[in-house]
Amino acid sequence: MPSTKLTIKPERSFTWEQWQARRAERRRVGNLVAPPVIRRKKSDGDEYLRETYEGERGPRFNMAFDPAADEYQK
């Protein structure tokens, strides 16, 4: 499969495992300064998004580790 021809610095290239490993920490740090779920209330494409997701702009966040999942379902 062809790789991108765009310039990518080595430190900005991530494997799936590297990305997954830091997800919970990134979320923890972000939640120190802003609410867990901050999805926009409206934007472009709302019509078909709301048709798809029963009136919401997207599906629920539902990762098991994700504290926002419970928050979003309240």
């Binding site: 062809p2 610095k9 991530f14 740090v29 972000g30 802003a34 999805r39 078909y48």
Partner: protein, 207 residues
């Protein structure tokens, strides 16, 4: 990609339950199919922010723009997307849905930190993400300057700033300040304010 490879990647998308990971896997497959034809897709918008922060920000669609030329015509987009069994289009080929997940194929990428793209290698292929410097400055601009104050964009910008200040992602402050000073944004003052606010908040809440 062969049809068997495409179907294997689509299976990975269907099996993934987390929205962020699922969207990135689908974006990776779409990206592979377009790169095969000589295009350079880049994930932008809420999905890019979600990649950097896991901030529960993205909606149900992933936005893809094209770095430089050529850009795919509408006919090429339809032809390439139609290689994936079960993918349907909406809005004249701009928006495509698979397994309850939308992808919007947009226009040319607008990006100022051209050497700071991020790349994620997934089992479904490689996905390129707009630089964090562009995303952060753009979000601060949208939150505090573009049309006055926007609380959701501000919260999003703060989450990304917290991720940057915690060194969870590579970030070039000189580049970010250059972008903030550019005629496109002119929001260096706002960027500096958000940085100070988040630094104080992190210092207050960190052990």
């Amino acid at each position: 990609m062969t049809i068997a490879e495409i179907e294997a990647s689509l299976l990975l998308v269907r099996q993934e339950q987390g929205l962020n990971a699922k969207a990135l896997l689908f974006a990776a497959l779409v990206s592979e199919l377009f790169r095969e034809r000589g295009f350079e897709p880049v994930v932008v918008g809420g999905s890019a922010i979600e990649f950097y922060t896991d901030g529960a920000y993205m909606s149900g669609d992933t936005d893809i723009c094209w770095a430089g030329f050529p850009m795919p015509t509408m006919e090429q987009r339809a032809e390439i997307m139609s290689q994936m069994p079960g993918v349907r289009s909406h809005a004249g080929g701009r928006s495509w849905i698979y397994d309850n997940l939308w992808v919007d194929l947009l226009g040319e990428l607008s990006c100022l930190a051209e050497k700071d793209f991020a790349r994620l290698q997934t089992a479904a292929g490689e996905v390129v993400i707009i630089p964090a410097e562009d995303v952060l400055v753009g979000r601060v601009y949208a939150a505090r300057k573009w049309q006055g104050y926007n609380a959701e964009d501000d919260a999003c910008g703060k989450k990304l700033m917290a991720t940057v200040l915690s060194e969870e992602i590579p970030f070039d402050w000189d580049e970010a300040m250059r972008i903030a000073e550019s005629p496109k944004y002119k929001c260096l003052k706002e960027l500096t304010e958000v940085r100070s606010e988040v630094e104080m908040e992190l210092a207050r809440k960190s052990p």
